[in-house]
């Protein structure tokens, strides 16, 4: 059945539209260009609220950075957006798909590289990539996707090396390559450069930068210069809430400080 949709008007984030002749309203609408939309997203554990009523939009094709100190709720937010954790309250949509009600659809759209490099240690680089590709792609596309990922991250010389024998930096690259091999529309990178030396970090930045044109990226990091170098938009999380958001310029103007580190400290102090 074909659905006929006519968008009538936009008003303050709401869309008024006709679907099969019936008038509807979508509050806090998901525009075509929104990759992620959350409303009051909350995660409560027994004795702690890790994420507390977070609402934000991420525009398609942008790289956004979630900044915050340990326990600010960055990883929990990512877990909810990748269907690894159910929200206690509120909603989250990934390209219009609800992360709870349409988890299967969401899982086809997202790729994640977790904080701990999640690779199969006894498998070679190629086998890891082939395995992950086989979960998302048709058989005939696997070989092409593997060689593309190997090339994108310069993994050529390690293709037949077991993952457990890779250095931290190369393991991290493999983990990201595994996250993108399923051709996700959104890539979540949870502290991708944690524990890497400065050269490995800079190299990885270049590779992340190259991915920006292909997908929306949500990155969590403790490194201010990383967010400054890579992010189109920055969200600062304090105690489970989004304390500030905007481009670096917008945040600098708001706080009257120069540089993300100073901006972050100012916001963090205000948020206490």
């Amino acid at each position: 059945m074909t659905a006929h949709v006519i968008i009538v008007s936009f008003s303050r984030g709401d869309v008024y539209y006709y679907l099969n002749g019936k008038q509807n309203i979508r509050q806090g609408a998901v525009f075509m260009c929104d990759a992620i939309v959350t409303h009051g997203l909350t995660k409560r554990y027994k004795d702690k609220t890790a994420v507390n009523g977070v609402s934000f939009n991420v525009e398609e094709g942008k790289l956004v950075a979630l900044l915050g100190v340990n326990g600010a709720g960055k990883t929990t937010s990512i877990r909810m957006l990748t269907c690894l954790s159910k929200p206690s309250d509120g909603t989250a949509e990934v390209f219009g798909h609800d992360v709870v009600k349409e988890a299967d659809a969401v899982k086809h759209l997202v790729g994640i590289s977790t904080q701990d490099t999640a690779v199969a240690e006894n498998l070679t680089v190629k086998e890891n990539l082939e395995f992950m590709a086989s979960l998302y792609l048709e058989k005939e596309r696997i070989a092409g996707a593997v060689s593309e990922a190997v090339k994108a991250f310069g993994l050529e010389e390690f293709v037949n090396k077991k993952a457990k024998h890779l250095s931290g930096g190369w393991k991290r690259k493999l983990s990201i390559a595994m996250a993108i091999i399923g051709e996700p529309k959104i890539l979540f990178l949870d502290e991708p450069t944690l524990g890497l030396d400065v050269l490995a970090r800079r190299k990885l930045w270049t590779e992340i930068e190259a991915l920006k044109s292909r997908m929306t990226i949500v990155l969590t990091t403790h490194y201010m210069e990383e967010a400054e170098a890579l992010a189109d938009r920055i969200f600062v999380m304090i105690d489970g809430r989004i304390a500030a958001e905007g481009t670096l310029n917008e945040l600098e103007n708001r706080t009257g400080k120069k540089g993300l580190e100073e901006v972050f400290i100012k916001i963090a102090e205000e948020g206490k």
Partner: protein, 257 residues
């Protein structure tokens, strides 16, 4: 077409094939026991009338004994994945609970069949040396007859791996390996001993698995020797597989809550 269970099974099989412990426990150890017990059997005077370690009895017992280590490795596979972040990463993929269960069961079933083949081929060689010839048809039938018990042990291992930690699960499996060996009639005649040992043996599925394997080797397909034991083993395999599947699914949902 994407078959995620097969892809995951392939990954698990490769991981296991690169772990030397799996060769030691799943192949070398049962084989060593077969040789040692055959030597012991040769030392027992014929007048003693002790036939438990004669190759036609020993062979089936060794096949089941080997499967207890398949149980151990099933538990290890699951706990290892649960301990690291790899399984969590896979939970974010389109894989479903049934893909995980299929992926854990299939490679272990392959290992169990290979193990049975090695045990029975070795038994055939031993039988030629000792002069007590085994029927090759019986041995081939036995390979099929130990499949239900293999599934049963894989299911038990998966249950332990799902419920317990990387430290607790192997310990519990070791207890079950000892218990299964004793009351499963592998190392002594449980039914001949009678009493509480026989009662415990008949309440657990291991004795039936051993009896079915031994009867298949001897081509004794009678109701008491083969049919009832294989049916009991099959039922236990199905029930335990369903339990393993339910528990893993429940654990997965709990981890994602």
């Amino acid at each position: 077409m994407k078959n995620r269970a097969i892809a995951f099974a392939k990954r698990n099989l490769i991981e296991m094939s690169r772990d030397s412990l799996s060769y030691i426990f799943c192949l070398a150890f049962p084989l060593a026991m077969l040789i040692i017990m055959s030597i012991v059997n040769e030392s027992i005077p014929k007048e003693a009338g002790m036939t438990l370690f004669r190759i036609d009895n020993l062979s089936g017992g060794i096949a089941i004994f080997g499967q207890t280590f398949v149980m151990l490795f099933s538990a290890l596979n699951v706990t290892k994945d649960r301990t690291g972040s790899f399984l969590i990463r896979l939970f974010a993929s389109p894989m479903k609970s049934r893909d995980f269960i299929g992926g854990y069961f299939l490679p272990m079933a392959v290992v169990a069949v290979l193990q049975a083949l090695v045990a029975f081929v070795s038994s055939f060689v031993v039988s030629l040396i000792t002069g007590y010839e085994l029927n090759p048809v019986g041995l081939m039938l036995a390979v099929a007859a130990v499949i239900p018990s293999a599934v049963m042990f894989i299911a038990i291992g998966t249950i332990f791996g799902t419920l317990f930690s990387e430290k607790a699960a192997p310990g519990l499996c070791s207890i079950l390996i000892s218990l299964g060996s004793f009351v499963g009639g592998i190392w002594f005649d449980v039914e001949g001993t009678g009493g509480i040992m026989e009662k415990i043996g008949k309440c657990l599925p291991f004795l039936y698995a051993t009896k079915a394997a031994r009867a298949a080797i001897k081509l004794d397909l009678s109701k008491d020797a083969f049919l009832i034991p294989i049916l009991v083993t099959l039922c236990c395999a199905l029930v335990l597989s369903a339990v393993a599947s339910l528990l893993f699914g429940k654990k997965m949902r709990a981890d994602l809550s």
